[in-house]
């Protein structure tokens, strides 16, 4: 990274890899599903309680084509797998505070150990030590996040230019949006009356080239026993990159005239429906369904002018991404101080305790 920062050629292999890495970090869509009803304990609208934990594994398949001026286009492909662990720190009917950690990262298909050949991978592994804490409201919106800057500092190591670059390429809003995805897919209070469809607004980072504001419409496609299939369609609108602040930024290149078009944005998911409330429950809580899995496909094309060293050149790009997230079977619920939950209230994913 140092070489390209010093030379200001940020739209380079490494720089773009950083962008893409950040992008896929940011673009990971995580969803989870657990529906247990303990009305007598402090729990969230999803039935989560303090010390409950679950993890979500996401596989990200990417292909990016970049062409600078009249040079030959370069196609980059990769497939990564990332696992995040969520642990409930505090649970109330109006707020859920969750601690999130990266617990696994694998580069699929490459020979050798994922962590042996790249400084990037090593730094990513260090992120395990930096938990991020998020506050989630009843609509699944992350209202506060701690640990964002610390995580980027951990990733950048002693390289301050790298840190500045990460802060630019990975805005807090996108980071927050990504880390809170498990709650993001839940229907909100304001959704369609029949509960059959709902809308979610999100932000995907495109690194130094800005981002995309996506509006996803989720609709129940079919329902069977305690689960339902979800169809997702949506639109995306470009968010322009902020102008280059030459005093604050280590890079000497900037992207102008950025035009990004979302060619497609669609997906499908699986949702677990809450089980019936216990008959003798004095204070039944209306629990929301959870998603057990999600696959999102999106593709964009675009162009921009990259300015570097007094020179302006046209760059065109295409990006296709498929990401699949699955709740892992290691869900732990009903820990102290609330005790174990009745077996009848456990979802199929929930192991007996």
């Amino acid at each position: 990274m140092q070489g390209c920062v010093h030379h200001g050629q940020m739209f380079s292999t490494k720089a773009f890899k950083v962008q893409i890495r950040l992008q896929h970090l940011l673009a990971v869509v995580c969803v989870f599903a657990i529906s247990v009803n303990i009305a007598s304990a402090q729990s969230t609208v999803w039935g989560l309680q303090r010390d409950d934990r679950f993890s979500v594994k996401t596989t990200i398949d990417r292909e990016t084509v970049i062409q600078l001026a009249d040079n030959a286009p370069v196609t980059s492909t990769s497939e990564d797998q990332l696992e995040l662990e969520y642990k409930v720190w505090r649970a109330t009917p109006v707020e859920t505070v969750v601690q999130v950690r990266v617990v696994g990262f694998v580069r699929i298909g490459k020979s050798g150990d994922a962590f042996t050949d790249s400084m990037f991978d090593q730094r990513l592994k260090l992120l395990e030590r930096i938990p991020i804490r998020i506050d989630v409201d009843t609509n699944g919106v992350v209202t506060n996040m701690e640990g964002y800057r610390e995580s980027l500092e951990q990733f950048a190591g002693p390289d301050q230019n790298m840190l500045k670059l990460l802060l630019e390429a990975c805005p807090q809003q996108s980071f927050q949006s990504w880390i809170g995805r498990p709650f993001w897919m839940t229907p909100t209070d304001n959704d369609d009356e029949d509960g059959k469809s709902w809308e979610r607004i999100d932000q995907l980072s495109l690194g130094l080239m800005g981002g995309l504001r996506t509006v996803a419409t989720c609709r129940i496609d079919s329902q069977e026993n305690n689960s339902a299939k979800i169809a997702i369609s949506g639109t995306a609108r470009q968010i322009a990159p902020p102008p280059l602040d030459r005093n604050a930024s280590p890079r000497s290149v900037s992207f102008t005239d950025v035009k990004v078009t979302a060619e497609s944005f669609r997906g499908e998911g699986r949702m677990l429906l809450p089980e019936q409330t216990v008959d003798d429950d004095p204070n039944p809580v209306k629990l929301r369904p959870w998603f057990a899995g999600l696959t999102l496909n999106w593709s964009i094309t675009g162009e921009a002018t990259v300015k570097s060293g007094g020179r302006s050149q046209k760059v065109t790009f295409e990006h296709r991404q498929k990401q699949t997230s699955e709740l892992q079977p290691n869900v732990q619920m009903g820990r102290l101080p609330f005790g174990a939950r009745p077996p009848s209230l456990r979802t199929p994913q929930q192991p007996a305790r």
Binding site: T77, G109, K110
Partner: protein, 132 residues
């Protein structure tokens, strides 16, 4: 007889260890891929995206060495294919001599993009007939 080609695409895959470059006929439609190593693909990619290294890398060193020794690189030619392995030569003019230096096509193409304009790339007609 050699056919003028151009570098038309670079594939950098993190999914497997083999990367590829595509050469396309300048005055025609024939094209074919050559599998290259990760390092060479990275070097070519770096050049195409115009990212100069902080310090000279191997192909920069080679270019500087040729120039410092009074050589004038002329072109690269993929001359033959044996057992699915391509062979190439780098043609360098030194004084009144034209030297043909044996090299791998991946190195030849990587070196070609280190010059501005890039060195012309040729492929022997018989090779092109066989692979395109």
């Amino acid at each position: 007889m050699a056919v003028r080609m151009e570098l038309s695409r670079v594939i950098v895959s993190e999914i497997n260890d083999q990367q590829a470059i595509y050469l396309k006929e300048v005055d025609g439609v024939r094209k074919f891929p050559i599998l290259v190593g990760e390092f060479e693909a990275g070097i070519i990619n770096r050049r195409l995206l115009e990212e100069p290294p902080f310090r000279p890398l191997t192909h920069d060193l080679l270019r500087l060495a040729i120039e410092s020794l009074g050589g004038e690189p002329l072109e690269v030619v993929v001359t033959e294919m044996k057992d699915h392995i391509y062979f190439a030569v780098l043609k360098v003019k030194q004084k009144d001599q034209i030297l043909e230096i044996d090299c791998r096509p991946s190195d030849a193409v990587a070196l070609s993009v280190h010059f501005n304009p890039p060195l012309p790339i040729f492929v022997a007609e018989e090779v092109l007939d066989e692979v395109s």
